[in-house]
């Protein structure tokens, strides 16, 4: 088991190191997040009340769109320099690679989401201090659900024709429950209500996360073989 955990750690460390040196995904995603905020504002108009009522949805649209770009890229680097063959030659259970990639994707998405949230607070002038603990739980559960399926599908579509279209077309319908649950729970959190009001949604999210994780671990070896 310790060997398994070590392999997970190695994949995570490798991905974070590559990202730290190139800053490819992070820089582009942060800029993309900022751009999204501007687009939302432009398309909704200056009416403050109108914007306020759709804030939770906008926030998650931002997370999901940034996540789509970030997750979709997570296996592209492996295609160069025979890295894919390297992954295939890794001894032991291939699910360790999945968990490592999932962990690195979670780190990347968390950083992006934290900054997008910060920009949200500034540009839409909202007070989230009281909502922050609840929001943290909702974002953690939602991001996990998005990343589990996203990592699995990203590995699958990395070597497929029309990858850029296929990845969102496969991922988005599956993620509808996660989106519904997170937007509803975020609404509760932003309104300053206790998070217990959204308990059913959080339970659903946790259950979905668990189901996705189990499927990802069990089926990853089948999508890795190119």
């Amino acid at each position: 088991m310790s060997g398994y955990a070590r392999r997970v750690g190695i994949v995570l460390w490798k991905d974070l190191l590559v990202e730290r040196r190139t800053k490819e995904s992070l820089n582009a995603l942060l800029f993309f997040g900022l751009l999204l905020l501007f687009l939302f504002q432009f398309s909704l108009g200056p009416d403050r009340a109108q914007v306020e009522s759709v804030l939770p949805g906008l926030l998650w649209l931002g997370f999901v769109l940034a996540g789509l770009l970030g997750l979709g890229r997570s296996f592209l680097a492996e295609r160069d320099n025979d890295c894919w063959e390297g992954l295939l030659l890794t001894p032991g259970d291939k699910s360790a690679i999945y968990l490592g990639k999932l962990a690195s994707n979670l780190v990347l998405m968390t950083v992006v989401e934290a900054l997008v949230l910060g920009l949200f607070v500034i540009f839409f002038d909202i007070d989230i201090r009281r909502a922050l603990p609840g929001l943290f739980i909702v974002v953690a559960l939602g991001t996990f659900g998005l990343a589990t399926v996203g990592t699995l599908f990203a590995a699958m579509t990395a070597n497929v024709r029309a990858r850029e279209v296929l990845f969102p077309v496969l991922l988005l319908p599956v993620q509808v429950p996660v989106l519904l649950a997170t937007v509803s729970a975020t609404q509760v959190a932003l309104a300053g209500q206790p998070l217990a009001d959204a308990r059913a949604w959080l339970q659903l999210l946790a259950a979905a996360d668990l189901v996705y994780l189990v499927i990802g671990v069990l089926t990853f070896e089948f999508v890795l073989e190119a």
């Binding site: 497929v160 296929l166 496969l170 509803s184 659903l204 499927i215 089948f222």
Partner: protein, 226 residues
């Protein structure tokens, strides 16, 4: 008895059952008191959705079977069932729209079960798109199987998320826990049409699997001849 005559007999049986079902829907079943003749759309709508669920169940079975055994027969079953599932989901949505216009006053509404059926449709259209994008049969089978499993596992999650999100559709009268309040002739006509749709589905499925088998054989023959 060989395969072909059985399938052919199944086809004739399905045709007879469909004619009988049609006759019962228009001749035997009484006119519904509130909605009038429009209600007779139910004899298409409900059997279609039940058949679609049967199809997606078979996609799951075929997917698991393929990943477990790597035998192409399972993959052909899953692919054929997915195509038919999309077809019958499409029939469900179209007939429901036609039914909804005079009774609810709208073609489409974001009600819970309409939404979850639409999501189901999108997930399996994605499944078919993925199949179209991967040429190599063995790889296509593996990828599609993973999506088939994720899609099926997602059905209950979608169901609950959308149910909590919104509810307008009448609750299911057949599959509910209480004894069905449907009048006996209507229930009987519905049963007849359900049997007819299931027979038609079985016939289509057998035919589609056979065609896929011949395609694979022809492809292999072409490769060998070269």
């Amino acid at each position: 008895m060989s395969y072909r005559p059985v399938v052919r007999a199944l086809g004739w049986l399905a045709l007879l059952a469909l004619l009988a079902g049609l006759g019962m829907a228009f001749g035997y079943a009484p006119r519904e008191a509130v909605q009038g003749n429009v209600q007779r759309i139910m004899y298409v709508h409900v059997p279609a959705v039940l058949t679609a669920y049967l199809a997606f169940g078979l996609v799951l079975i075929g997917s698991i079977g393929y990943l477990a055994s790597a035998r192409m027969g399972w993959d052909r079953l899953a692919a054929a069932a997915a195509e038919l599932g999309v077809l019958f989901t499409g029939i469900t949505i179209a007939s429901g729209s036609i039914w909804g216009r005079p009774t609810w006053g709208t073609w489409w509404t974001w009600d819970a079960r309409l939404t979850s059926t639409a999501i189901l449709f999108l997930v399996y259209v994605g499944y078919l798109l993925l199949r179209a994008m991967v040429e190599e049969p063995e790889r296509r089978g593996r990828f599609a199987a993973v999506v088939g499993i994720v899609g099926a596992a997602n059905i209950p999650i979608v169901h609950f998320s959308v149910k909590w999100w919104r509810a307008l559709h009448q609750p299911s009268t057949i599959l509910g826990p209480e004894p069905s309040p449907i009048a006996a002739p209507i229930a009987l006509a519905l049963l007849a049409n359900w049997v007819a749709f299931t027979l038609l589905f079985a016939y289509f499925l057998a035919r589609r699997v056979e065609i896929a088998r011949l395609e694979d054989a022809a492809l292999q023959g072409a490769v060998r001849a070269r």
